[in-house]
Amino acid sequence: MSHEHEHGHPHDPIEQDVGARKDFILLEMAVRELLVEKGIFTAADVTQQIEDMDARTPAQGARIVAKFWTDPKFRELALRDGKAAAEQAGCDMLAAPELVILENTPALHHVVVCTLCSCYPRAVLGIPPAWYKSKEYRSRVVADPRGVLREFGTAIAADVEIRVVDSTADMRYLVVPVRPAGTERLSEAQLAELVTRDSMVGVAHARPPG
């Protein structure tokens, strides 16, 4: 399918995309172009949003976790007001929904999902991975969290409580994994490097040092 009309912005030709999703891609383009035509927003606004989202990465979440581990006052703030803590850690949370920080302990392991769609703490982690948005993850993790975590290579002891957190409404959730042993001498920056994206969703533990 070729593009018969000019609409002022470059993008990849449709043929490159996976067949089944072509309809949704066309729908998105059509709705977006219509909204721009009607003056709801401009093409530049869309580009701005995309660039803003692309700039957000799990490194931001990792910074929050490292601070949480090392600074008791920050930990208190984070448990009380996730957005304020994220701001203090350098994330722009102006347009973000409420953020709740979930602390894992040796007795409690959180894992986050959005069964209804793909709600994810994008403001502090960036774009969610494809598996998080998949029907498989969304349907299986609420029914068999231990099985799903095993598939990620993550074993949870039988006497540890697994708490699946379904982001059904306006709150977004960030997991603080348990601080790995043997990290007492590491700096905040070094600690942040141990915090993987998957550990902040709850399907993995933080990486051990060294």
Partner: protein
């Protein structure tokens, strides 16, 4: 108890929780009603949003995980009935 219902239109209470008993952990605040917001209405008056905890072995007959495993979801007030 999460209401057992299949209303028309947009709603944010997952099917797997409808008709299931849970414990309210706390109120998360009041938010605009997503079911009317989705249709371009203002979503007012704001509705209470509650963090509700369910026990996984009670949600699923064939649950094979830990007996103490739980699931928490954020449920709007009008989806909750006293147990």
């Amino acid at each position: 108890m999460t209401r057992q219902d299949i209303p028309r239109g947009h709603c944010r209470t997952p099917f797997y929780l409808r008709g299931r008993p849970g414990v309210i952990e706390r109120c998360l605040g009041h938010f605009r009603n997503p079911e009317t917001l989705a249709y371009g209405k203002p979503g007012l008056p704001k509705v209470g949003l509650y963090k509700v905890r369910y026990e996984l072995p009670h949600l699923w007959q064939s649950y094979t995980g830990g007996r103490a495993d739980t699931l928490v979801a954020d449920i709007f007030e009008f989806w909750l009935d006293p147990a």
